[in-house]
Subunit: 205 residues, 3 copies
């Protein structure tokens, strides 16, 4: 098990936990919480793979199912403590976001797509699972209103392509890309940076 | 028209009725009710086929459209009586669940996937249409909070694979698998069996 | 840039505006509004392409991303005036609906599918983006309850296939099909034509 795989599992675990916790707030049962956790963790990559026309990554090996099961067990056992670990999970979640975004970009490149498709695929891989989670639990997707989240994937993706263009070695390019996503995300939350909001108006259509 | 086809149509009819009735409670028009009914009936199998990378089954022959049209006509004509047929529809729905789960497993096996993918595909085929229905009518998916529903597909799937492993003839394996789903579902509702719920907590993320 | 391409961009623009305006009413930030606008504009065609098993059209050239960006800029700059342009956008939206429906039908025919699949693909291309928009902003899909919308795609599609069957030249067939959709839509709104609604009942399942 190499370094990237461990990071991948940590990201999956953090994403699954975020789904399971929100499902728990909605009083879902264990199975429902598991499904929401799994969808949060693999939903973005699944949409990416369907759009790219390849078999969804989690159908090729059962580790994502297992990691989600561990996440569920974790919430069941440590439920009352999990709530105090907000900061820890936030860091895990940011790491997952960064890794997932880079994985999405590289898969897009491997299939011969141009930069702008790669940026979209990176963003979908990182952020779409959270949107699917919010749809399943019948809430408005948070990422459309709060601090910079999906945009961090775009910014990190631009860094990735810039390094790539400058001829930086591929491993370093990956690391710089992922760290850019993570940094943007952490700074956005720390300083409550957000994009402007459109002025809401009453519309009758 | 053989036995399996008839069962398939009964399951489709029951699933479509469940979608149309909920759409009716939301005052959808006929077309909207038809769409919700159709999505409820074929949505699970469609997600399965997209994940497996094959053409969705309902695009190969129009019978699912027709069965849904009959279901809509049925609700329009017998609307006030349909509500008193809860038990009848419950049985049909359970039968559909059992059949759809086994169809999903077999399609997954036919494409060379291992057991755990088959269990997921069976569950998606049986239960995802209902989740799509609840998303369309903007409700929290019921199956994540009420009696055992999706889990019945998993349990029936385990029975299926166990029979398969023991060398039971394929037709009998199918029947045992489907009946396991149906039995688990009926017993769960009769005795109000459910999974534990996660303890809901106020979370601020 | 030929006539059809211009119409295509106008339709995309109108659909994107409709998504961005509703996102604005929900106080989404710019990025969220962009995503909702993009999904509204390309969502229907994306579902169609995934069901047909081909690469989603917007992944082949970046113009749909750019048109959506212009739509967002337009709402940001002219926000307070946009609300007074309801009628203008309604016409654009109807034109987009007509064009998208015919594009969906022709893509379905090009892949060898029969009429009834074409009618579904035309309807999905025209109307599913709006359903995805309403799901993202956590509202019940409007098209299931208000004036004839998705049904206009079906009616226009029937006109298309009728002309095709009668041997009308393909360009004329396209124009008649699209205009049928647009006319049905405009007449439906002008005279508040709608389908009957199912009688809502309290149901306890």
């Amino acid at each position: 098990m190499n370094f990237l795989t461990i990071i991948d599992y940590i990201g999956t675990f953090a994403f699954a936990i975020s789904g399971i916790r929100l499902a728990s707030a909605k009083k879902f049962d264990w199975f429902g919480a598991y499904v929401v956790g799994f969808v949060t963790a693999v939903g973005g990559g699944t949409i990416r793979d369907v759009l790219l026309g390849v078999t969804p990554f989690w159908m090729l090996q059962p580790s994502y199912l297992i990691v989600t099961a561990i996440a569920l067990l974790f919430v069941i056992v440590f439920g009352r403590y999990v709530i105090h670990l907000n900061n820890t999970f936030f860091i895990f979640d940011a790491i997952g976001l960064g890794l997932f975004a880079i994985v999405g970009i590289e898969k897009s490149i491997a299939h011969g797509y141009p930069i702008w498709v790669g940026l979209i695929m990176g963003t979908i891989t990182g952020a779409a699972g959270g949107v699917m989670r919010d749809t399943l639990i019948n809430e408005e997707p948070l990422i459309f209103r709060k601090e910079i989240y999906a945009l961090a994937c775009v910014i990190g993706g631009v860094c990735y392509y810039f390094c790539d263009y400058m001829g930086v070695a591929s491993t370093l390019t990956q690391i710089i890309g992922a760290i850019s996503v993570i940094l943007v995300r952490i700074l956005a939350v720390k300083y409550q940076l957000g994009l402007p909001h459109l002025k809401g108006e009453e519309i009758n259509s």
